[in-house]
Symmetry: C2
Subunit: 353 residues, 2 copies
DNA sequence: CGAGGTTGTTCAAACGTTTGAGCAAATTAA
DNA sequence: TTAATTTGCTCAAACGTTTGAACAACCTCG
């Protein structure tokens, strides 16, 4: 056995990667026994297992994922598609997805759609080509055509959406209840004594922004306040667009006394305009944003906002995927997991004390 | 031929994925001919190619990446390791790496080390297991032991470092010249009339922060200014640590009249403390950060900082990888690609006008 | 002592591609 | 017309693993 080993070590000189075959040769057993030993198969003797692992270690054996994935028809790779990577929300979601899935032996492939439908399609294409075992995605704002997502479903692998999803697509979803969250914001502002609440809305075709608008409207109605079209202005929610919308609101005959922006960057833009014009926040106009971007806590005044529980959403999305993989037959109930968002009240909307 | 086709379509009913074998059966040719047709092999007739592609389309054929990667010994996957995903710098680098590599048929697997050495090791492990064709990485702050990176090199696949690299590891590197950039900052502050420039330094074991400190020292020396130990304080560069260091600096017998922080978050922390204490920026103390995080442009006063050309760095790192893959023999010269950083002068250090 | 079960292993096929070698037919050159 | 070359394909092995089936050797039990 010893000269077998040394022969093999010599062979290793020419840089070929070690395979289970090499291990088998060293020990004088077959590759299948080695494979089973490495996978702790019950029908392999403890003695052999130890020997195999020892030799594997010595030869610096690294299993070839490609081969086993091919044979098993399972890659242990999960694709994650996010719109953009620079927000704190997505980075935290990712971190948690990864944490949960790594523990179960999955690795993740992250792709950014950059909010572009075209890029999103090519990402899906690439992920499917890589034979991922599932996809966890948050849709680009632009995306209306769902055929590429249908393609994932038709492959028979799990598809989990988070944050940005579509009801039409019949799949698992994890996110907050935008409608209720909007309610919460409006009621907080009313509670602060505000009477004319404006809404810097997101792209009204996207489900989540649509729901925020609905929530805003219904909350006003519920409290007997009129819904004024002038006070709802659609925006791409970027900083500069927040400025533009705030300016428009200030140009109205009757100014609002509160602004609820569907995104933090838009809220920041609004805040800048208010500051430039010497309008006191929150005394004259109160302000609430959405997403809890880090900067909301350190600008002056700090901006009230919504914490979307990114860590929890990531964790739940990953678990939803695992659930689907482990119980592929249960096609029946699709989960809509709704996480409670949290309103973080900061200076920009806190008139009391 | 037509009944062959319909037979095959029927077969497809039972959800099995189409393979080149299926296409071969339909057309009555061999799988190898199909493979060659799909890959535009010159020895396949135009007629056959067209027929194969037509049938492939009809049967909704999707090539199995795992199989071809296994056979070719090449996965067309590139691993990217970044410390954290929430900074604008890394997200922009990623976007550009992806753009360049996608064009060449590569997909990227992104993993976050979360600045943890342990996580970094397991990421490397995972990437190697997935048989990536190369790794592009920015090292975690913690990382001192390079053995895991050596492991990548020993696999014989390209390793490209960016931003955070180590000279000891003999590999390609893309980044800015931290030493010169520090010079530039110090000279800008001197130009503004500052005489006592403090430095909120990064972890002095990390190469880039070490170089920033060296640059700071040498620039002062060059201009005949003393180097005062009290004015250089090491920090983890997070917001709160920036506050702590700024407080320490203010407690000195003789206050600095300028602060150069090696990171934007630390600069922001410093700014908060200055504002709270009613110290005028830049008049009493000028401030410069590092990295051009978005918030530096919208806080009041806006913070002068360094743009590290993230897009360019991403692009160059990806190209360095491609270079290595295409010319594996050229072991000789390893590239240190140095990109010129740009000083963005904003209100926090602009005393003139 | 023989039937039945368990243990530890081998055998061979399979996963879906790619690719060097081989070969017949068609084309070109001499 | 024949030899040489080109064209268009087939054959079979290979990539490294996993896995159902088979089987010998050993153990157990009545």
């Amino acid at each position: 056995m010893f000269n077998r080993l040394s022969k093999c070590i010599k062979k290793l000189g020419n840089k070929k990667k070690t395979t289970i075959k090499d291990i088998a040769n060293v020990l004088g057993i077959t590759p299948s026994a080695v494979s089973r030993a490495l996978n702790n198969h019950p029908r392999i003797s403890e003695k052999t297992k130890i020997a195999v692992k020892q030799v594997a270690e010595n030869l610096n054996y690294q299993p070839n994922h490609l081969a086993s994935a091919l044979r098993k028809g399972k890659s242990n790779l999960v694709g994650v598609i996010i719109p953009r990577n620079n927000s704190n929300f997505f980075s935290s979601v990712l971190e948690n997805i990864e944490e949960v899935l790594n523990k179960k032996g999955y690795n993740i492939i992250i792709t950014q759609s950059n909010e572009s439908y075209k890029k999103e399609c090519s990402s899906i294409e690439a992920l499917l080509y890589t034979q991922v075992d599932g996809v966890i995605a948050s849709m680009a704002n632009e995306t209306v055509d769902l055929s590429y997502y249908e393609k994932i479903k038709s492959k028979g692998i799990p598809l989990i959406l988070f944050d940005r999803g579509e009801n039409d697509l019949n799949v698992d979803y994890v996110g907050i209840d935008d409608y209720l969250t909007s309610h919460m914001i409006v009621e907080h502002l009313l509670d602060q004594g505000c009477k004319r609440i404006a809404h810097i809305a997101g792209y009204s075709k996207t489900r989540i922004y649509k729901n925020r608008i609905r929530g805003y409207n219904d909350a006003l109605e519920k409290h007997g306040l009129p819904i004024e079209k002038d006070l709802i202005i659609e925006s791409n929610l970027r900083l500069n667009d927040g400025r533009r919308v705030m300016q428009e609101l200030l140009n109205l005959n009757e100014r609002p006394d509160a602004v609820y922006a569907a995104g933090d960057y838009a809220a920041l833009g609004a805040l800048q305009v208010l500051e430039e014009q010497g309008i006191k926040v929150p005394e004259e106009i109160a302000l609430v944003g959405f997403s809890n971007e880090p900067f909301t806590s350190f600008v002056k005044p700090s901006i009230s906002t919504i914490d979307q529980k990114s860590a929890l959403i990531g964790k739940l999305a990953a678990e939803a995927f695992l659930e689907r993989v482990n119980n592929p037959k249960v096609k029946a109930s699709l989960n809509k997991i709704i996480v409670d968002a949290e309103l973080i009240i900061r200076d920009s909307s806190n008139k009391k004390e």
